[in-house]
């Protein structure tokens, strides 16, 4: 394996890594969206509960 080959491979690996990071970022965003929605749902539920409590009292 000569130097050119090695350099070529290093570039390939870097490219794979870049692609991966982009993909991962996308998925992380998706994950965060899910969590954000979840938190929203939890908050809604909490508010509902409080509202019910106030109504009853």
């Amino acid at each position: 394996m000569d130097q050119a080959d090695i350099n070529q491979k290093v570039e390939t690996i870097k490219a794979i890594r870049q692609k991966y990071i982009a993909e991962l970022l996308r998925l992380k965003k998706k994950q965060n969206e899910i969590i954000k929605d979840f938190i929203k749902a939890l908050e809604t539920k909490k508010i509902d509960q409080l509202r019910q409590k106030l109504n009853i009292q």
């Binding site: 394996m1 130097q3 090695i6 350099n7 491979k9 290093v10 390939t12 690996i13 870097k14 794979i16 890594r17 692609k19 991966y20 990071i21 993909e23 991962l24 970022l25 998925l27 992380k28 965003k29 998706k30 994950q31 965060n32 899910i34 969590i35 954000k36 929605d37 979840f38 938190i39 749902a41 939890l42 908050e43 539920k45 909490k46 509960q49």
Partner: protein, 940 residues
């Protein structure tokens, strides 16, 4: 937004931050490239984990600042689908990362590519994720548990919580099943630490050991459950309670172990019953259970030991009740009613409860019914009882069958026909158990005597199961002469607080039960209790016994090996055997009732004759038990092609005793058998059914072998002498040995010449023999010459042996190594079995006895299954003058088991038929405990 939630912008920045990833690095070799690849792959892993863990944490922490309860959080997570969505994204991240890693490794051409593809190296990271997920669920469940215990939680909430808990647990199980490799590893790690801690806290040592062993054998996933239970038990302050509950847990574990070891049933931990079962039960806490259950109840079934039959659940419960009586509480009976109902509704395939310890007698009557035709209240639930035998091993038997005959498939392992064989089998296959026996009883001899007691007790169990007395025996506790410290607790052992006292109570209780079971084993038939004329002569009883016996053979495979002739292969055969039994019972019954009428009406001559001859038993004689009619029928159904089975028909195929004089006149039954003992291996070899020539040849061979051994011993003496002489410091013992050895060597010096001379003479005789035989033309003469030489050779060899005897130090030393014929049976005997019929006729059938080979009809065939006034064996021996004389009359009939009191009557009756009885011996074969020739289903 909670602080913990990671900012996506931040994460993006992190990913794009230049890192020491080799961008500026100048790589110059393929090794470097490989390293670079590895670092890159590792980097991917790190990033993936960061993303996965970060996401998981944020998700778990989402509720922190909001403050909903955990169960509410869980509901929202499920209802909005957030949980499922998160899971799917996480899966996508994991997949993407793995694939990228593979791509990188491929590109770097690293040699580790293969390793990376293996789950192991990926596993370390996935394991973390897995463990975290498990941990998360555990927290959720713990939270629910805390709220369930909370007194402020309303019943309505509790219901929801229980459902949620179950959902969590299902989820956990699902994930564990999907990733067994992580499940094992994770649990194993936790277990190793915790289990050892917990086990060390078990107070009683043997239980500690057992627990450890059994625990290793169950799947790790299930181990967790038992660990929790153990933890709970050990927290109890009542030491007896700890001891008994640990035993209960051990019992359940040992059942799981047995099922998986025997492989007769399938355990499936994924099995679950989703529907709740509706049934009629007893009102909660009702004390009086003597009413028809009438409460509408509904509850789920928890499978303790989840057995699958064709994928469908089969309930199997193990109950250990050393103190309390099982079945006395409404809740316990309700559980069984629930199972009964579940079977009826087709929710489960069947149900078995295995009990060890005390049982409420009323419960058993309730469960099994009180007469033969009554199926009891839970006809489809099988009850197995585990009985602890004197040797400490267990015997399991069916106390109550299920109506569909589809009970648990199990075996009593390693229990053979004789104690010796049992011990051998334990030694061969379960060394640990063998060692335990040795520890407990000190010697093989003592262990054998315990195993023999086991055998008798198992026999007693079988009999008590047949006549239903087993229930009273195992439920009634009747400790005779209890020590004073136990007195106050006999009525209610629940109140015993000291563990030692409780052990004492248990052991006394066992002794009392053993005593009753041993009494059951009494083999003399005195009351004709189960004859063809008794209440047992019903189809129900016959069928029940037939099936029980077949199950017994299945459950005791060692026993089945020697009772092959009694194993029915198909349901068709079972039905045929039942038919045959019923037909035979009918015939015997009608004959006997007619005979009784006649004997009662006329002042019977037969009866008068009998009493004149000294008969003192029951007027009706000795009747055949139904069990024996059953086994005769089974035997007949199983008859092999070309062989006759057992039949009560064609009695003309037998002789009567009057014919024997004529028959014996031209018979010869000389039988020779020798036993050869080898002191080196301490083994005895039997040569059965041999002749004089064989014995002569064997003696010569032994002589040769012994001379060879003697020579070896002389060589050893020389070597040992030299060895000891060289030793600088000699002990007193060694000095004695030297003295002995030098005396041997001196004797060798003295006899050396004579030995050589004799050896030469033997060689000379041998070659002379060959020459002389060669020279002779006549074959008959050849033989004579050869035999003359042989005699001389044997004589000289004998001389050689006595010289060696002297050299070795006399008879005693010689016997230490010489093989010899230790026993010689030389008899000319002929045996018949006999049965005395009601009219005084004595029917006989010849017994073939040649070593291990024996064969004959059964006593029941001689008497056509009818009552007899005596049965057993007659032995005739040929004296020196070639005359046959009657030498023994015994009562050896396993079928009829007549008392020895009949023997005198039989003797008189035989004499009246013109047979000389002046030298006869009467022997009680049955009570002497000698081998009973016809083993039956009741005798081992």
């Amino acid at each position: 937004m909670p602080a913990e939630l990671t900012n996506p912008q931040e994460q993006e920045m992190k990913i794009n931050t230049p890192e020491s990833m080799g961008a500026e690095l100048e790589l110059s070799s393929s090794e470097d490239l490989e390293k670079f690849g590895e670092t890159a792959a590792q980097d991917i892993d790190d990033k993936a984990n960061e993303a996965l863990n970060g996401g998981q944490k944020s998700f778990e922490n989402a509720n922190r600042s909001i403050g909903l309860s955990e169960s509410e959080t869980e509901i929202v997570a499920q209802e909005t689908g957030a949980e499922a969505q998160l899971e799917s994204v996480q899966e996508e991240i994991a997949r993407l990362s793995n694939e990228t890693k593979k791509e990188i490794t491929a590109a770097a051409g690293t040699k580790n590519q293969e390793a990376l593809e293996q789950p192991k190296s990926l596993g370390v990271e996935n394991q973390k994720t897995f463990d975290e997920i498990m941990h998360g669920y555990k927290n959720l469940v713990d939270g629910i548990d805390a709220r369930l215990k909370d007194s402020e939680t309303t019943p309505e909430e509790k219901k929801t919580l229980v459902r949620q808990k179950k959902d969590h647990q299902d989820k956990v199980r699902e994930i564990q099943t999907a990733h067994p490799e992580f499940a094992m590893a994770g649990i194993k790690e936790q277990q190793q630490v915790k289990v050892q801690e917990l086990i060390a806290r078990i107070p009683d040592e043997s239980a500690r050991k057992n627990f450890n062993e059994l625990f290793q054998n169950i799947p790790e996933v299930i181990g967790l459950k038992y660990m929790k239970i153990l933890e709970g038990i050990l927290g109890n302050k009542d030491e007896v309670a700890v001891r008994t509950t640990v035993r209960g847990l051990l019992f359940e574990l040992s059942r799981i172990d047995a099922v998986s070891r025997q492989g007769l049933e399938q355990i499936d931990y994924n099995l679950e019953i989703t529907e709740e079962v509706e049934y009629l039960g007893f009102a909660k806490n009702s004390k009086d259970l003597n009413y028809e259950p009438n409460q509408k109840l509904k509850s789920p079934i928890e499978l303790d030991i989840p057995i699958a039959r064709k994928g469908e659940p089969y309930v199997y419960e193990a109950k250990s009740y050393p103190r309390m009586q099982y079945g006395s509480l409404a809740s316990q009976r309700n559980q069984l009613l629930k199972y009964q109902s579940a079977v009826e509704q087709g929710i489960v395939e069947g149900a078995t409860v295995e009990i060890k310890g005390r049982i409420d007698p009323d419960f058993l009557k309730w469960a099994t019914g009180t007469n033969i035709a009554d199926a009891g209240r839970i006809p489809d639930v099988e009850i197995i009882y585990t009985f602890e035998l004197p040797s400490g091993t267990e015997h399991r038997f069916v106390l109550k069958r299920s109506r569909k005959n589809n009970g648990l498939d199990f075996q009593n392992e390693g229990r053979a026909n004789t104690p010796e064989a049992t011990l051998r089998s334990i030694k061969d296959s379960k060394l640990e158990q063998y060692e335990e026996l040795m520890r407990k009883f000190g010697s093989e001899e003592e262990a054998l005597s315990k195993l023999d007691e086991d055998r008798k007790i198992i026999n007693g169990i079988q009999k008590s199961v047949l006549d239903r007395s087993i229930i009273d025996i195992i439920t009634g506790v009747n400790i005779e002469n209890p020590p004073s410290e136990l007195q106050p607790y006999l009525e209610n052992p629940m109140t015993i607080k000291s563990a030692d006292l409780f052990d004492q109570y248990e052991s006394l209780k066992r002794e009392s039960v053993y005593k009753k079971l041993l009494a059951k084993r009494e083999i003399i038939n005195v009351d004709n209790k189960r004859s063809a004329n008794s209440e047992f002569a019903s189809r129900d009883y016959v069928e029940k016994s037939m099936r029980e016996y077949q199950d017994y053979l299945k459950q005791n495979p060692e026993m089945a090996k020697i009772k092959k002739a009694y194993i029915l292969d198909s349901e068709e055969d079972v039905l045929a055997a039942i038919e045959k039994t019923m037909a035979a019972i009918e015939k015997v019954k009608s004959f006997e009732s007619e005979r009784k009428q006649q004997e009662d009406a006329l002042d019977s001559q037969d009866r008068e004759k009998r009493s004149k001859m000294g008969y003192s038993g029951l007027d009706e004689g000795v009747a055949l038990d139904i069990e024996h009619i059953i086994i005769d029928a089974i035997h007949d159904v199983n008859k092999k092609k070309g062989k006759t089975g057992r039949s009560y028909e064609n009695p003309e195929r037998f002789k009567n005793v009057e014919m024997l004089g004529q028959y014996l006149s031209d018979q010869d039954r000389r039988y020779l058998e020798i036993a050869i003992y080898d002191p080196l291996s301490e083994k005895t070899e039997r040569n059965i059914d041999v002749n004089e020539t064989h014995i002569k040849r064997t003696s010569v061979e032994l002589l040769k072998e012994n001379i060879k051994r003697a020579e070896e011993r002389v060589q050893q003496t020389i070597a040992r002498f030299a060895e000891l002489n060289q030793k600088p410091d000699k002990t007193a013992e060694e000095l004695d040995e030297i003295k002995f050895l030098s005396a041997r060597l001196r004797a060798k010096e003295m006899q050396g010449r004579n030995i050589e001379k004799l050896k030469q003479r033997i060689e000379a005789l041998k070659s002379e023999k060959v020459e002389q035989v060669k020279a002779e033309k006549d074959n008959a003469k050849k033989k004579i010459i050869a035999s003359e030489y042989d005699d001389q050779i044997v004589q000289s060899t004998d001389g050689l042996a006595s010289l060696y005897k002297e050299v070795l130090g006399g008879e005693k030393e010689w016997d230490k190594m010489a093989k010899r014929i230790s026993e010689k049976i030389d008899q000319n005997m002929i045996k018949f079995i006999y049965a005395v019929k009601s009219d005084g006729e004595i029917v006989v059938g010849e017994e073939i006895i040649r070593g291990d080979v024996s064969g004959r009809a059964a006593h029941s065939e001689l008497a056509q299954g009818r009552n007899v006034y005596g049965a057993g064996e007659l032995a005739f021996t040929k004296d020196k003058n070639g005359q046959w004389t009657l030498s023994e009359i015994n009562n050896g009939s396993g079928h009829y088991r007549p008392s020895a009191l009949t023997l005198r009557f039989v003797k008189n009756l035989i004499q009246s038929k013109g047979i000389d009885v002046s030298t006869v011996e009467l022997r009680d074969t049955l009570l002497r405990g000698a081998l009973i020739p016809d083993l039956t289903m009741l005798e081992e």
